[in-house]
Symmetry: C4
Subunit: 233 residues, 4 copies
């Protein structure tokens, strides 16, 4: 209602195309809300489009986002070219940038409960340095082999998702996220202990469907643990 | 259909602004229904707006509320200035007023099953006097530090939510709710054993997102218990 | 598409009033589908309106019902006054009539998984003759005390829902349903082992909200069992 | 956006009738998305209509399908008569054809987590050659007795669903799917270990409702296992 807007920069977020990033982030986040990924203003989404980064703000109900809520950053200079005056930029921004620097076109951060539970189960059973590992689940085929590699993982491939420790401030996750990206150069996701997950992809379609595939696998893995079924052979 | 309305007072609930309290309570309750918070006419929501309190009625399907269903009370005199003739005022009203008296702008009462289960688990494991405690979960950062304090809880802070015993009549919860508010002056929520939870906030946005964050944490805590994972270190 | 209709009787199901029984059954069943109560054409709903009974047909996707799909029966003579030619009347009809004969205005039959699981848990732990019993859960207050009695159950009252054995043919449940109604004259619901539940109420509003309250309690009771929490003190 | 279409063949997928196969697959898949059956582009649906087969493409978000996304195959010659140029045909196509060859009018493939979990539970408890078996659950009556037989299974009949081993490539499932169809000629579904399920029916209505009934039973069976309740007597 009372949002003061930077009128000159509004053209950046006004479009009739539902796939314009400013519109797309709104429809994606509304969908993510129904999946339980962005409860209570948690989580976030960012799209890189040509030389610009579009980012959902912090502290806003994600199922209620409007295109005019978006922050827009120049990717080369990392300077905001649009800042809604009454909103706070997302603390996830440096983490999104880490993904974009490695070629991602879209990055999604969720507080999925399945992600949180998996980080706790892995810690208890395999220790703090272990990553989440699972194999022989069809949905693994929804995840690409890795940046610069052709095609997706196969059914007999083992999916590995690294886990980093949470920090008091979200932006302080950046260096350990980047380390995980270096150590697991093929990964498209990093779990954050007791917090959630970051998933990225070459474009919006891939980031969204990879995030769904991984969340499906994490939920399945929790149910398997409940039933005493092992994740690997 | 047959609802007899107090015509003179209808102007209090007629507005084209979706954020007018009479409209807002309807859209919030419809959303809460899909979250399982207000099943079978359970639960309720109230908004304080300037010098008036808007309250959803008792015994109405919460996903079907209409603005004309709202009770309106003068906050200073605690007298109803609008009473839909065929509806009953909510038995939660004195509990909502307890929150408003302490500065809240909106108060939400849910029958969330996660809330009920947590009150039973805490009683079994820590006794009747214990409150629910959890720490090192990112979503805790969605809860403010306390009335008159700046900012939200941090990741390493422990979230404590007091639990009061249920009574035969909802209005009889008032004194123990007020006691819990005195004993835990920083809390924005009170669990009611075998019943549900009251959550409030400075305004509608905060009450709604805090209620979501707390419900997320309660659900997560139940799943953790199922998997044998401890709530605190 | 190819449905042959009894044109003379169409006036019975054509109305612009959303609360006309023929319309109301459609919107109720669509809602029940999202609650998992009428999966795969299972379950059903019937409304008594003045001297007529409106009944959803058998074998139709319940979230896709149209007013013209409704069967209409004269309550006094128990003869159909409208029969959609290509549809089959519901096998639940004699069970709905048993409820209407005892004063109900609406009867809902669901295949809720919580209902099925509770019938199995009660049988294992208390034997085939036991009914489901639970106490000190706030949502119990959503259930009336019994036909001809004023008001609803209290928080300290014990809710008892009888359980009857399933039969090969749904209509063969009628006599044991009626027996359960005689033995538990205050009940507004009967569970059917390995099958689901019948819930009725004085009118549509009451049947729907009582069915929701009971389903909430059954789900909670299953979760309590998973966590080792007893249903009664 | 950039999809190059075979203009001459567009008439095959343009219709105002919501039950035209090209439209019907879109609305079905959007519903299946909300049921968790086609997460992350997984799963698929195909309809046989007269002498043509309509098939949803591979790798597309199933809740976002458009009629122009459909592949159309001539059933007699098994040649595509419409291929959207930028989309890939579904790897499920030979499996759908196996069902159509045996008289099916519609075939649905889901990645339901309940299906995956059941294949793991059956393997652990009854070995790799066992099929899933359950009895005395009312919803079993939603499944027909078998091709060429009149009517549906009864409450006292045992439902048996064969399970085949997953393969690296979906199309390589065809021969074992066909073997299972030969060995269990009455089945309308085949589970695929660690993958999901194929369900078919005489027409769209039957395939959809049978798929729902089976998924309901699989979910119930997982919950029964969690509670220590046996599937058969």
């Amino acid at each position: 209602m009372s949002q003061v807007r930077d009128e000159a920069a509004d053209v950046l977020v006004h479009s009739l195309d539902p796939e314009h990033p400013a519109n797309h982030i709104c429809t994606l986040c509304a969908k993510f809300y129904t999946l339980g990924w962005v409860t209570g203003t948690g989580g976030g989404t960012s799209i890189r489009h040509e030389d610009k980064i579009f980012i959902a703000p912090s502290g806003v109900q994600k199922e209620m986002l409007k295109p005019t809520d978006m922050f827009v950053m120049d990717f080369a200079s990392k300077e905001y070219i649009r800042k809604p005056k009454v909103l706070k930029p997302s603390a996830c921004t440096p983490l999104f940038l880490a993904a974009f620097t490695r070629g991602a076109g879209c990055c999604i951060h969720t507080h999925s409960q399945w992600a949180v539970l998996i980080t706790l189960l892995v810690e208890r059973e395999f220790g703090k340095d272990a990553c989440f590992e699972i194999e022989e689940i069809e949905q693994i085929k929804g995840i690409p082999k890795g940046r610069g590699k052709v095609g997706n993982l196969g059914y007999f491939d083992r999916l590995r998702i690294p886990i980093i420790e949470n920090t008091a401030h979200e932006e302080d996750l950046t260096s350990s996220l980047e380390e995980a990206m270096e150590k697991y150069p093929d990964t498209y996701a990093v779990l954050v202990r007791r917090h959630g997950i970051y998933v990225w992809g070459d474009n919006v379609h891939k980031a969204k469907t990879q995030c769904e595939s991984i969340d499906y696998i994490l939920q399945l893995a929790v149910e398997m643990k409940n039933l005493g079924l092992p994740w690997t052979k």
